[in-house]
């Protein structure tokens, strides 16, 4: 039976979709059977980040309406055959699906997968309720800025009201800039952790590699990203699997500007 994680934030643009794709791909590379569900109906993007936008035949709405079975709507990843996507529809709205529909669909999927990641839309309205309906645990994605943190706090409150226990709500800090923290220009992890009072599952540094892989439609772990990013994603995935992996410190998160990296970037530009 699959363990279902919803990636949510409240605020838009913090990197939920990119993280969903990259955590899913990293998990699949380890041999787990992984499904990604795009619950951002109307503003779907997960298929684009995964590079699967031209392979969609049926969507979540078709499954909710009983037009097709959920397994007929799943799109398999080109390289990772154990990674599937349940795409969202662009011409539908969030109101066309209910939390009960999501529970039923996720429930059916659970049998055939080890992990399911649900990409939640921004906001705390119907789309949010749909996305969290079938989830066992929540990954709160935030960036180290006040608007994102305060929205994350509100989402945590909503999840608690919906019955999620504290130990089922985890934090991922995305687009972290170690050099700004070192200069005293950005909140550090302890500041964010003490404000939100939830366990940190991962810290993802800001990286140009993410933009490159999104533009290519190839997840970081398949795109030959630098070892630092792969190690960071691998750490999060191992923590999700229950391994005791230490959270990286500022030095681990800092991009090394050594001679080898400079040479590599020179060739990449060409």
């Amino acid at each position: 039976m699959a363990k279902v994680y919803v990636l949510t934030s409240g605020k838009g643009g913090v990197g939920k979709t990119t993280l969903t794709a990259n955590l899913g791909a990293t998990m699949a590379l380890k041999g787990e059977r992984v499904a990604l569900v795009d619950a951002d109906i109307g503003l779907k993007n997960l298929d684009v980040v995964m590079g699967l936008e031209n392979r969609i035949v049926y969507t979540l709405i078709d499954v909710a309406n009983g037009k097709v079975q959920v397994f007929d709507a799943l799109v398999r990843h080109k390289q990772l055959k154990n990674l599937s996507l349940l795409p969202a529809s662009q011409i539908a709205t969030k109101e066309m699906i209910s939390p009960d529909d999501m529970k039923r669909i996720i429930g059916e999927m659970k049998e055939r997968f080890d992990y399911i990641f649900v990409d939640c839309p921004a906001g705390i309205e119907r789309g949010f309720r749909n996305a969290v309906a079938g989830a066992d645990e929540a990954l709160i994605v935030t960036t180290p800025e006040l608007p994102a943190i305060t929205d994350a706090d509100r989402v945590i409150g909503l999840l608690e009201n919906m019955g999620f226990e504290d130990e089922k709500i985890h934090l991922i800090v995305n687009r972290f800039k170690p050099h700004m923290v070192k200069n005293g220009d950005m909140l550090n992890i302890d500041d964010i952790k003490s404000a939100l009072s939830i366990e940190v599952m991962g810290i993802v540094p800001d990286s140009e590699e993410v933009i490159i892989s999104t533009n290519k439609g190839v997840p970081l772990s398949l795109n030959g990203a630098d070892s630092r990013m792969i190690k960071i994603l691998d750490g999060i995935v191992r923590r999700l699997e229950g391994e005791d992996v230490p959270i990286p410190n500022l030095n681990d998160l800092t991009e090394k500007n050594n001679l080898w990296n400079a040479i590599k970037s020179l060739f990449r530009r060409r």
Partner: protein, 95 residues
């Protein structure tokens, strides 16, 4: 110019740090517990809401299936209560 900018940068660090002001503001925003959130199911009498919700669902299903010439089963009605408002969402599949 670059020579003077070294001093400017140093001065700025001494004056104020963005992290310090962010930390203070964050404390005032979320320091005293979670930001205000409303329960979804805080209707005064949940039984009363459930009873009324079933009635209105039946009525909407009947009327919508007549108007859109579709099976009643294809009309999905969800009744929710948010912060004192009863919200009714109807999805009518008349394909």
């Amino acid at each position: 110019m670059s020579f003077f900018s070294i001093f400017t940068r140093r001065k700025r660090h001494k004056e104020s740090k963005a992290r310090d002001s962010a930390r203070e503001r964050l404390k005032s925003l979320v320091g005293n517990g979670r930001r205000m959130v409303y329960r979804i199911d805080d209707f005064e009498s949940p039984e009363e809401l459930a009873g009324k919700a079933e009635k209105i669902k039946d009525e909407i299903q009947k009327k919508a299936s007549q108007l859109f010439n579709t099976d009643e089963k294809k009309v999905k009605v969800v009744v929710e209560e948010h912060n004192g408002y009863v919200i009714i969402i109807a999805n009518i599949n008349f394909e």
